[in-house]
């Protein structure tokens, strides 16, 4: 008889077909590959942030004396210190901490939905998917407030200089857009909108997908199919969205 050393892949049988690479289904493997490509895209954006940020001067001196200026990169906790309904209260990074908490919580509810799906427990899949959708929508609402607060500005203008027609012209900057920025160099605002916007777009599409899968679950599609693997696949996407936020949060708001 053949030796009993463990041979995991008998080459003959592999070519016979019927085996899946990495022992996962087609859909799950393709979702992983898509997530790798999406990770590259987000990495490109975040690395660009690193490049542009370190090509600007940093603020030197006591953080208490910090004011906004085009000349140096802003300190994030001085920029992101608002909180909805608490006008004028200085709450550095509190709101973004809440957003992070909401998104991580929605990831936990997602994982519980996946776990329920593996037991064919439709009622609990529905319950946890609803909570995940609510969490994602709450995050999007928070992000919308953050954007509008960022765009409108604090009401106190920053003076900036621009070289127009051969001479330096001073002008007052209120709020932020893709081309002007009250909080620091315009690049900061542009990168903020691009990176958080692209991420928010992923959260939005994730919420839509989650709702679609939730709807399918309620009408019994997965019971008839015999497995809840679709919940796992959108779960992978949702965790990826959470993972990207963890990185965006670190690089934009903390570093």
């Amino acid at each position: 008889m053949a030796s009993t050393t463990a041979v995991v892949n008998n080459s003959e049988n592999l070519w016979e077909g019927g085996k899946s690479p990495f022992k996962v289904s087609y859909g799950k493997l393709m979702m992983w590959f898509f997530l790798v490509s999406d990770a590259f895209t987000f990495s490109g954006l975040l690395i660009t942030y690193g490049l542009i940020r370190y090509s600007h001067h940093a603020f030197s001196g006591d953080t208490d004396n910090f004011i906004f200026s085009y000349d140096y990169w802003p300190i994030p906790e001085k920029v992101f210190n608002g909180f909805p309904l608490l006008h004028g209260v200085n709450a550095p990074l509190i709101f973004v901490g809440l957003m992070t908490f909401i998104l991580i919580l929605s990831s936990v509810t997602m994982v519980l939905a996946v776990e329920a799906g593996q037991r064919m427990d439709r009622k609990n899949v529905e319950k946890w998917m609803i909570w995940t959708i609510i969490g994602g929508t709450a995050f999007l609402g928070c992000q919308a407030w953050e954007w509008s607060h960022f765009i409108v500005g604090t009401g106190v203008p920053t003076m900036a200089k621009s070289f127009v027609n051969g001479q330096w012209v001073e002008f007052a900057v209120y709020g932020a857009s893709l081309s002007i920025n009250q909080y620091g160099p315009p690049d900061f605002a542009a990168l903020f909108f691009f990176i958080t916007g692209f991420h928010g777009f992923h959260v939005f599409s994730g919420v839509l997908l989650n709702f679609l899968i939730f709807y399918n679950a309620t009408t019994g599609v997965y019971d008839r199919r015999g497995h809840y693997e679709m919940v796992e696949k959108v779960g992978l996407y949702w965790h990826f969205v959470d993972l990207v936020w963890v990185f965006v949060f670190t690089f934009f708001y903390l570093v």
Partner: protein
């Protein structure tokens, strides 16, 4: 569609151990995030603080990818297929941050 009988689906009971393990990971993520905030407000900004933040973020990423996305329990080669390309990302990050710094020095 209503003339078909809905298939009999047998719901398996909850595995308390598994749920507890998932919730434990969730608590770990929360605790690490909390410490990130503590460090953000108590430590002076600089390369050491940045390095600590990146380390904590990688720890969180490892838990999310390994436990929530279940990658730790998949075929090992799948895990490497996903992680090894990330080395390129890390290389690019280090290279371009250095570039940014040298752009600043040239000005």
């Amino acid at each position: 569609m209503n003339t078909e009988e809905e298939p009999k689906v047998i719901v398996q009971p909850v595995n308390k151990e598994r749920i507890r393990k998932l919730l434990k990971v969730a608590v770990i993520l929360g605790v690490v995030t909390f410490f990130e905030f503590v460090i953000a407000f108590t430590m002076d900004s600089g390369p050491l603080r940045t390095a600590i933040f990146i380390l904590m973020t990688i720890i969180k990423a490892a838990y999310i990818v390994g436990e929530f996305m279940h990658l730790k329990y998949e075929v090992k080669m799948l895990m490497w297929t996903i992680l090894i390309p990330m080395l390129f990302v890390i290389w690019l990050l280090i290279a371009l941050i250095y570039e940014g710094g040298s752009m600043l020095n040239v000005q």
